[in-house]
Symmetry: C2
Subunit: 153 residues, 2 copies
């Protein structure tokens, strides 16, 4: 298994843990320049009563706390779903070197869709963006979660 | 003094406190439907080593924690500066009823500038937006802060 697969697998584990808590199954990990996972998170908006507690924001906050810096120079972030505008902007503020995401999000995404945060002339830092890692698995997790919610409601 | 002036004054006090800590002087308060300030914050990105610790995000997180909900239904948020894309999206996720901001931010704003988050067809919730409250004071605070920084560097 390549490192690339293992990073997205770690993000998928966070997403699965979020689903088991009744949260939208999105997960993220931050990987430093040496290849170590230094922060991870799954959605916790409901548990924390915090609309900003998306997987990416939590992973970034934890990684920054760990290294004692507001900038994640040389780090990459791996997310199961295309980041929303809030998270895309947070990834830019954190100065992440690269963003890898799995499933595309035409409804709420902020990278390839909606306000396309990194395409704005005012974007101060634009990471390299890589799409489609474990795309099917990432998308199925979300599809199953919402299908189950509809059945229950 | 009208309530409107007092809310922006409270946000300005947060911005001044941020400046005195060496943080970019932006402040925000969340006001509930009854007119009470239920959350406030000034930039703390440096002190907290957290790139998401903008005034608006902190004020929203504190207000949500206080009422035990991830949604600030019927609340308004008062910010000294036009929110960036991250904060604009967070204000949308929090379902704030109204956004009042003081100074315009052509360089990093995300409401009237850059990705114009609320203008995207995918914006799930768009608050009423009011501009220009205490604009001069809000802008001068930022101008003085950066002028002083340039003199010192």
């Amino acid at each position: 298994m390549s490192d690339f697969t293992s990073y997205m697998n770690a993000a998928l584990e966070e997403a699965e843990a979020a689903a088991s808590r009744g949260e939208v199954p999105v997960g993220a990990v931050v990987v430093d320049a040496a290849g170590r996972i230094i922060g991870s998170g799954g959605n916790e908006t409901r548990a924390l009563s915090d609309p900003t507690a998306h997987a990416e924001v939590l992973a970034i906050r934890r990684a920054c706390a760990r290294i004692g810096s507001e900038r994640l120079i040389g780090c990459s972030i791996w997310v199961t779903l295309e980041p929303c505008p809030m998270c895309a902007a947070a990834i830019g503020f954190a100065r992440c070197h690269a963003l890898h995401f799995g499933a595309s999000d035409p409804k709420s995404g902020g990278v390839d869709h909606g306000p396309q945060v990194f395409n704005a002339a005012s974007a101060h830092h634009v990471p390299e963006v890589y799409r489609g890692a474990s795309e099917h698995q990432c998308a199925m997790l979300l599809r199953d979660f919402f299908a189950k919610k509809r059945t229950l409601s």
